[in-house]
Structures are given as structure tokens and as C-alpha cells.
């Protein structure tokens, strides 16, 4: 699963999830992509699960780009622990997704296959998404 190799600090504050995606909201590499419409935390597990779902459909054909990286540690206190005694330990890596963010991009496969793959990937995610296409030349 994706995670940073080096970090400056082990733990981070949660922060806010206001507004729309500041960048990464247009297709940069592929012809077709999955765009977030909702907001929330996307864990490394979810990124991997969606990637596997895409890989199942496209098999060896085509290319996939992952446009998000889980660089934020998510901490949790152990079960049945009293409050206090400091912040919990990091349990997983997450990324904050805001509306408009492109999550995955694909290229080099039939449109129908790409749609199926991205739709199956969308079921692994905790927010609404839509499939976006590049405006092609006719």
C-alpha cells in the first residue's frame, strides 16, 4: 500500500476539509478518469482496493495513473482507553479528497472497458464520484 518513505513528524492534526479541490481537477495524463464529487478521507487501503478493481477489468491493456497519495497519518487511541495520555498512535495513511479531485486516470483501452473499470472502482470509495472524459478531437 502507498505510504510516505520519510516524514518530518509522526502525527498530524486532522485539519478541515472546506472548499473545492485546489489542483489536480483536470485530466493530465489519460483520456478518461474518475473525479470526486464529494469530500472525505481516502485511505491507502481504499486507494489500493480501487486500483485492484481497475486492474481486474483492464488486465494487461492500457495504463493507469493514480492521482492521489496518502501522505497524512491517521491516529487512533486503543479500545477501552480513558481520555488523555496524549494523542493515539498512527494506524493508517490517508489523503483528504475534496470535490473536483481527479483520483484515477486511464488510457489505451476501449471506452466501454474503461467505464466498467472506473465504475467498479467507485464502489470502493467513501464519496460520490463521476467519470470524466477528455474533450476529443473529431
Amino acid at each position: 500500500m502507498l505510504m510516505p518513505s520519510k516524514v518530518k513528524y509522526r502525527k498530524q492534526q486532522r485539519g478541515r476539509m472546506k472548499g473545492l479541490s485546489k489542483g489536480g481537477s483536470t485530466l493530465a495524463f489519460g483520456d478518461i478518469g474518475l473525479q470526486a464529487l464529494g469530500r472525505g478521507y481516502m485511505t491507502a487501503k481504499q486507494i489500493e482496493a480501487a486500483r485492484i478493481a481497475i486492474a481486474r477489468f483492464i488486465k494487461k491493456t492500457g495504463r493507469v495513473w493514480i492521482r492521489v497519495f496518502p501522505d497524512k497519518p491517521f491516529t487512533k487511541k486503543p479500545a477501552e482507553t480513558r481520555m488523555g495520555k496524549g494523542k493515539g498512535d498512527p494506524v493508517e495513511w490517508i489523503t483528504i479528497v475534496k470535490p473536483g479531485r481527479i483520483l484515477y486516470e486511464m488510457e489505451g483501452m476501449e471506452k466501454e472497458t474503461a467505464y466498467k473499470a472506473l465504475r467498479s472502482a467507485s464502489y470502493k470509495l467513501p464519496f460520490a464520484t463521476r467519470i470524466v472524459e477528455r474533450e476529443t478531437v473529431k
Binding site: 500500500m1 505510504m3 510516505p4 518513505s5 520519510k6 516524514v7 518530518k8 513528524y9 509522526r10 473545492l20 479541490s21 481537477s25 483536470t26 464529487l37 491507502a44 487501503k45 489500493e48 485492484i52 486492474a55 481486474r56 488486465k59 494487461k60 491493456t61 492500457g62 495504463r63 495520555k85 498512527p90 494506524v91 493508517e92 470535490p99 473536483g100 488510457e107 489505451g108 477528455r134 474533450e135 478531437v137
Partner: protein
């Protein structure tokens, strides 16, 4: 290339709130600027903008500007269209005023034709450059630049220098710029991957600051904290004493 005619209104309202009210009237705030011309702020009807986009992004526009009875005409190209990232609503349009006699630098989209040989052998076609920078007269701007990839084999790349030269069009990109590439297929990976528990618990390396003296202080502080923790944890330990190991006695 065809000329499209678009009627726009001169805009005298500026700012965020005014722009919002313009969008509420099914118009898009825009601006027309050029090298040797004064800037004109306009409001463009959404419906006519949609028609233009459908026709193609590189079309020359004959812009009729209406201004309280006065009318002016300008020749322009769409330079940039800003859209809302979620709703796709038009936010702003930049039009670049051009002269029919002066060559301009612009971009033309790449249109790939044919099926590459390499794809039949399992390769993946990758379009590296989707738009080419060109220099030509506004009337000679192509709708797209066709590139035939039928001769491309696995691992082969088509560069800007390989494109057939077009009359009146000069490519501004480096001749060595790759345009289309047939990639070698990636090795098949095991799709079913077991969920590795280690990956979630494993922590990355924490970058420490340079001063050794501070680092030296840390263990002492940590030691104090640890001592506090043991004191606090002590009652819990009394509540749940560890069971004694009886098997040793049995062995004797």
C-alpha cells in the same frame, strides 16, 4: 477554416458579485485583448459559446460587439475558457484578438489515425503530446494535426520531426519532442493481493533535526514521562496480577 459569428455585449460591470449576476442571466463574462488593440470586457451568451465549442476550439470568431447602439467587429480566437470544476459551468472566457495578416503562435490538437502494428502485438499506444505548438496565419490554423501511427511497432516513438510538414504551418516544438509512443506491455501482476497487516503498522522514517544536544535531552524527558506512566499504570497492574507459572513446580 470557417469563420463563426458571435454577438456579444460590452460589459461595464466588474467584480465577483457583478460577474455572478451576469452568469445568472445565462451569459459568461469575458474579455477580448490583443497585441495592438485595447482590451474590451464583454458578456457572451452561454448558448452561442456552447455552439462555438462544439464546432472546435481553434475556430476563428467574428465578434460583433454591441455597445448601446454602437457596434464594432473584431476577429478573435478562444484563448482560455474557465469552468467550474464540479458543475462544469462557464466562469470566464478569454478571447485573443488577431489580425488576418499577422502570424500567431497557437496550439493545435493531435488526431491519431490508424492502428499501430505494436498494438496488435500487445503494446500500449500512449499519446505523449496532445497539443502541438504551431505558428501560422489565423486563417490557416488547422482544426487538428493528423498523425498516422499504423507503422509504429512496439517500443517505437513518433517525434515532431516525423510529422509531414503542413503548408503555411511552422512547428514550434523541438523536433525531438515525442508525440506518440507504443509502450512495451507491463508484466502481468498478481491481481489478488493479500492485505498486508505490516504495511498499516509500519511507520516511515522520521526526519530528525541536526542538534545533538537536543536529542540528548529527549531520552531524559521521555524517561520522566515513562516513570509517570508506570506510576499511573501501577494500580491497573495490581487489579490484574499476572498468573504464577505453576508448571515449574510440577516438573520438580
Amino acid at each position: 477554416m470557417e469563420e463563426l459569428i458571435i454577438d456579444v455585449k460590452r460589459r461595464t460591470e466588474f467584480g465577483k458579485q457583478k460577474a455572478k449576476s451576469i452568469r445568472g442571466r445565462a451569459e459568461v463574462p469575458g474579455v477580448i485583448y490583443g497585441k495592438h488593440h485595447d482590451t474590451v470586457h464583454v458578456a457572451i451568451p452561454v448558448e452561442s459559446l456552447k455552439k462555438i465549442i462544439k464546432a472546435g476550439s481553434n475556430e476563428i470568431l467574428r465578434v460583433n460587439i454591441k455597445d448601446n447602439g454602437d457596434a464594432g467587429q473584431k476577429l478573435a480566437l478562444i484563448k482560455e475558457i474557465q469552468r467550474h470544476i464540479v458543475t462544469d459551468e462557464f466562469l470566464h472566457v478569454d478571447l485573443y484578438e488577431v489580425s488576418e495578416k499577422e502570424a500567431i503562435k497557437t496550439k493545435a490538437p493531435v488526431l491519431v489515425t490508424g492502428k499501430a502494428k505494436g498494438i496488435e502485438l500487445g503494446g500500449i499506444l500512449q499519446i505523449v503530446t496532445r497539443e502541438l505548438n504551431i505558428k501560422c496565419l489565423p486563417t490557416a490554423i488547422p482544426r487538428h494535426i493528423e498523425i498516422d501511427v499504423s507503422q509504429l511497432n512496439i517500443g517505437h516513438t513518433l517525434h515532431v520531426k516525423d510529422i509531414n510538414p503542413l503548408k503555411g504551418i511552422e512547428f514550434m516544438d523541438s523536433p525531438e519532442t515525442p508525440v506518440v509512443h507504443v509502450m512495451i506491455p507491463a508484466k502481468e501482476e498478481a491481481i489478488v493481493q493479500p492485505v498486508v497487516a505490516e504495511a498499516t503498522t509500519a511507520e516511515p522514517e522520521v526526519i530528525k533535526k541536526g542538534k545533538e544536544a537536543r536529542e540528548g535531552e529527549q531520552p531524559a524527558e521521555e524517561g520522566k514521562e515513562a516513570a509517570k506512566d508506570t506510576k499511573l499504570a501501577a494500580p491497573q497492574a495490581k487489579e490484574k496480577p499476572e498468573p504464577k507459572k505453576e508448571p515449574k513446580k510440577e516438573s520438580k
